[in-house]
């Protein structure tokens, strides 16, 4: 199970501090949302035994801005996320298969409907269930966040849209262990299996993109090399850390 976090300078904890806490909480990997975070993934992996994955979260105001950012950042990271916002931006994100995850789709007045849920499934864009406001907001804001999560859950369940789950922490104090997130999800109407699937989905995205970034990758289902070596090649590509280069 993986978790995605915002690290220093966007958050108040460095990547290694997040990784230390996440490893103690039982996560297998950590995806860094922050583009300009400074860290040594190999050293962290060696010290704390956790897979640290480079990610970038695009925070654009319009689809045009988002399109420019995708071109710039897609080759530079393993997981590309786009922060949702307006309805137009959400629509653009779920129709762009170069984006891996549409994060915080219901924040800042954004919304998801049946058209977007279907488009996300078609383009394999994962929609994020953001538990951050449930964990850290209070009063009316939290009620609104829970209401939006329920709407999103019903659409995702009906249209079988791919999804990820995150506590969206920007400090290591904001991280919560998988079992705590499962317990919280059950109170919100999710099943524990759904939450676990949402946390595991991050690792599926990472594995897929690392495979695509491997030199032997040609297209889905086609790989360059001897058939005998196929299994070894796949193992090597899973360990590869470079960007996806779609």
């Amino acid at each position: 199970m993986y978790e995605a976090v915002s690290a220093y300078p966007d958050g108040s904890s460095t990547v290694s501090r997040h990784a230390r806490t996440a490893a103690r909480y039982g996560y297998d990997g950590l995806i860094v949302r922050t583009r300009n975070a400074d860290y040594d993934a190999d050293a962290i992996a060696e010290t704390y035994g956790i897979d640290v994955v480079s990610g970038i979260e695009i925070d654009a105001d319009t689809p045009q801005q988002a399109a420019g950012s995708i071109g710039n950042f897609r080759p530079r990271c393993t997981v590309l996320m786009a922060c949702g916002g307006s309805d137009e931006l959400n629509r653009y994100c779920v129709e762009t298969d170069r984006i891996d995850v549409l994060s915080r789709p219901m924040a800042a007045g954004g919304d998801i409907n049946h058209v977007l849920a279907r488009a996300a499934k078609t383009n394999r864009v994962f929609i994020e269930f953001d538990f951050g406001p449930v964990l850290r907001e209070h009063g009316g804001n939290r009620v609104k966040a829970i209401r939006k999560l329920r709407k999103l859950r019903e659409l995702v369940e009906y249209y079988d849209t791919p999804f990820v789950v995150s506590a969206n922490a920007n400090s290591h104090f904001g991280l919560r262990a998988p079992r705590e997130l499962c317990a919280l999800g059950e109170q919100l109407g999710f099943s524990a299996d759904q939450i676990r699937a949402g946390l595991r989905a991050w690792s599926e995205i990472v594995a897929r993109n690392r495979q695509r970034a491997a030199e032997t990758y040609v297209e889905p289902g086609v790989r360059f090399g001897r058939v005998d070596d196929a299994e070894n090649t796949q193992n090597e590509s899973n360990e590869h850390n470079a960007g996806p280069g779609q």
Partner: protein
């Protein structure tokens, strides 16, 4: 009052919880209990939070880390976990909480999950973000002071 016969006494589970916060935070048992009951009341409602009980039994917090033992009614441990996850600040200090384990007796819980001592914090200066900065360090972690606030880091960030 005479205590209840054994077969009719409520059955309890004890949650061992690890607490992490900033080095300057001072959290007492009462503060923690109040935050936990507020979190449970807000998330679960009065009825469910009364079912959970969530009484803080043992509590220790010093130098930014601590641990506590929370009593929960048997069969209500998952709602209790959820309520515990929603405690994010206590008296303006951010807190990270994790359930280390659950036991059926206080003694088993203490023996198995509690009593993990950590080192003390010490003041020193570290190289971080292209400057020498004051930091409060303990074991392999540090809270570094910047002009914009403090940053939580580990020794990998400044060595």
């Amino acid at each position: 009052m005479k205590h209840l016969p054994k077969h009719i006494r409520p059955r309890w589970r004890y949650l061992a919880v690890g607490i992490e916060s900033l080095p300057e935070a001072t959290i007492s048992r009462g503060d923690f209990q109040r935050a936990l009951w507020y979190a449970a009341g807000n998330l679960l409602g009065d009825v469910k939070s009364a079912d959970c009980d969530l009484t803080v039994y043992g509590f220790s917090f010093d130098n930014g880390t601590g641990e506590t033992l929370i009593r929960v009614r048997r069969g209500e441990t998952e709602p209790a976990r959820a309520a515990l996850a929603c405690v994010d600040r206590i008296d303006d200090a951010p807190v990270g909480l994790v359930v280390r384990g659950i036991s059926g007796t206080v003694r088993a819980c203490e023996e198995r999950y509690l009593g993990r001592q950590t080192g003390l914090f010490e003041q020193r200066h570290v190289d971080f973000a292209a400057a020498r900065r004051p930091a409060i360090c303990r074991d392999d972690v540090a809270e570094i002071s910047l002009s914009s606030g403090s940053v939580s880091a580990t020794e990998l960030d400044f060595e």
